[in-house]
């Protein structure tokens, strides 16, 4: 098991190296000269040239990439082009906020979608099944900035239940987390429902019933645990969707997270900051999926014995 985790972590390295190169490459395509952008209006040719040299912008892309990687290995993510602040420091401040938001959203979404999925499956084709699924699907069909604004108007302006934005206390977490959560409710509900449908047709469910296990207990003890296995995979994948969704939600709810930071940095062509954000996004996404894979072992004993 530990061996497996280590092997998986090792596999992260080539992926991260690739991710960084890819982003490096894409950003290099972005029009606009960083030096000009940093210096802004009225900068002299000479100053621009100096700065380009200072930042190593005239080196071939591959050299710039190499230099970045060398620094990165030494734990140095560089300084933001636009603010001069340390990228690592900035990310350290911002990332926990995004993490807090996405984790809460995942839990909210699980809390909503697993019961809907289970009930829909046990009452396939019932009204609940139809309505439950449609409600879940409406969730992913709404652009989150639109939903967010409507929620703010409704729940903070009209009803005054929650703050309209910012990051102060548990109350301020609810609206953004909910906005984020409803976007991923559908796929988790969908997966739970279909895997539940599959599971409740399995022989071992009949075995359990034949033992005299009550209906409730058959669902909760025998079926759910099996049905959760595919659902858990989707939860892992949805984490990525949520991280992406955070970009919009953070803007609407003035949440000081890393998603907003990344978009702002892309717009400023702030390469070190964008790279820092991407690294953190990719790492956390990969690690969450690793955790999910490990989680399988606790749900599904068959997988545990496959680890080597």
């Amino acid at each position: 098991m530990i061996k497996y985790v280590i092997r998986r972590l090792m596999m992260l390295f080539p992926v991260m190296v690739g991710v960084i190169f890819l982003v490096f490459f894409i950003i290099s395509l972005t029009p606009g000269d960083v030096a000009t952008i940093i210096l802004g209006d009225g900068a002299t040719e000479e100053r621009i040239k100096d700065l380009r040299e200072e930042l190593g912008l005239d080196d071939p892309l591959i050299v710039q990439y190499g230099n970045y990687m060398i620094d990165l290995v030494q734990g140095d993510m560089g300084k933001s082009y636009s603010t001069g602040l340390s990228v690592a420091g900035e990310i350290k401040q911002r990332f926990p906020n995004t993490f807090k938001l996405t984790i809460t959203a995942i839990f909210l979404s699980v809390l909503i979608s697993i019961p809907i999925g289970v009930i829909s499956a046990t009452r396939q084709y019932s009204i609940f099944d139809n309505i439950g699924m449609i409600v879940a699907l409406i969730g992913i069909s709404m652009p989150s900035f639109w939903t967010g604004l409507i929620l703010i108007i409704l729940f903070s302006l009209k009803l005054g239940w929650f703050p309209s934005g910012g990051m102060k206390g548990i109350m301020s977490l609810i609206l953004p987390a909910f906005t984020l959560a409803i976007a991923s409710t559908a796929s988790i509900t969908r997966t739970t429902r279909s895997s539940m449908l599959e599971v409740i047709r399995q022989d071992y469910i009949t075995t359990a019933k034949a033992k005299g296990v009550s209906r409730r207990s058959v669902i909760n003890k025998h079926a759910l645990k099996n049905a959760l296995i595919p659902a858990v995979t989707v939860i892992g994948l949805e984490f990525g969707v949520l991280l992406g969704g955070a970009v919009l939600t953070e803007t609407v709810f003035s949440w000081p997270g890393i998603g907003r930071l990344m978009v702002e940095s892309i717009q400023r062509k702030d390469t070190p900051m964008v790279l820092g954000c991407v690294i953190v996004f990719a790492l956390s996404f990969s690690i969450v999926n690793l955790i999910i894979d490990i989680l399988y072992a606790f749900i599904d004993p068959r997988i545990k014995s496959n680890y080597s």
């Binding site: 606009g32 210096l39 900035e90 906020n97 809460t104 703050p163 990051m167 206390g169 062509k269």
Partner: protein
Amino acid sequence: MDYKKKMTMLFALVLMSLTLPVYAGGAQEETEMAKDEVVVALSADITSLDPQGHNDTKSEMVSFLLFNRLFRLNTDFEVVPDLAESWEQPSDTEWVIKIKEGVKFHDGSEMTAEDVKFSMDRSKEAPKVQQVLSEVASIEVVDKYTVKFTTNSAFAPFLYTLVHAGTSVIPKAYVESGDEFAKPIGSGPYTFVEWISGDQVVLKKNEAYFDKNNMGQSSTITFKVIPEGTSRTIALETGEVDVVPELPTIDMNVVKDNSDLALYEKPSTRVDFFAMNTEKAPFDNVKVRQALNYAIDKDAIITVAIDGAGVKAESVLAPSFLGYKAGPYSYNPAKAKELLAAAGYPDGFEMEIMTSGDDRKKIAEVIQASLMEVGIKASIKMLEWGTFIDSVLRGDEETLILGWTSNPDPDATLTPHWFSGNIGGMNFARVNDPEMDRMLKEGREELDLGKREVIYNKLHTYIMDKAPWVPLFVKNNIVGANAALKGVELSPQGLWNLEKLHY
């Protein structure tokens, strides 16, 4: 225990562990009833706490509270002394300025001429603000409280350059300590408490401020970052913030109709304009440029883009500027068509409008619609700000939309925009006209106000005749605030003198 219960418990636990510490903070805040705190909404985070490390209005608001400059602008944009005690001009190129004695930095040390020189030298080198003092050749310390500036040539608007945040005086010892402005030390009416990236900047009143007449009024000022316009207005309505310096014009009525809120409006000096690249056909043809001046419906732009919160711009500067003169154009599509036909484009042509930002996008759309009326097919190219500026400097654009706020001396705006040497810089229309260059030089070197006015008068007429721009409008600054908030002052640049805000 069944799995549902387990999941619920797990969720509750995670939620608690995530939010408990934060929640404690929230509760504390609620018990603090006395309203001695002012929360200002910002549309974007500040970029730096180093007054010479930024060049944007948000960071400037914070810098103005933390630091002092030798001079400052009052709400009418007149230069008034800040740190300066007295000043004189021994020659056309020399300025000797004496600073107030006994000004203390937040760490208790005293400000000297040494700090002033250090700050100005640093400013000239700082990438973001190096252009501010570009006319200054050297700075010398005369005595403990006196410095001497020498400019490259006679430079009438010199004092105006010393109001820029980039010329803030910072303690030499602090900068040399290598803290890199993590906890900035200034001399201003407020001291630094914390900056939570992307969230807020908190400042505390400086009880030992040297200028007893301009002391900070409320004990804390918090700048909260709220990027989304609608959210900013709502935060004002729910009381989460006390003042919104950049209230979306669309929400003016919401604020007006709410008796708990107050709306402040004041004309700005910012001219939003449509510039044509005179190096590119068909905009090298003056008739085409004039045609566009007739074709664009400025009233529609004002209605659509800024909800009526402004006035038509008739020339390249705001009317309040020295030597202002309105141009001859009015909305007249028929005349525009005539001119286009005369220029050889009776059926119009295709062109591209380049700009950046959501507000300008709307302007672009109205222009696009106006031009459609006279047969010109315009496409809009939206770019990110950085990319936009870069493209503009390289002259990639055919036409562009931009706004320009400047210090109140006309030269600070006219020279960058019209001097041929600034092609590749802020000379957006890429105008290379010796006559214009001559008038500009004359204006900046003329120290007599009356004569300057005449020169600039002629210049306005000349520029508008050549018509490289279509000046669009001068927008009002709109500030929304809690009706109970006192000390809300506006300058042409917007919310001003924030140290006066209090309940």
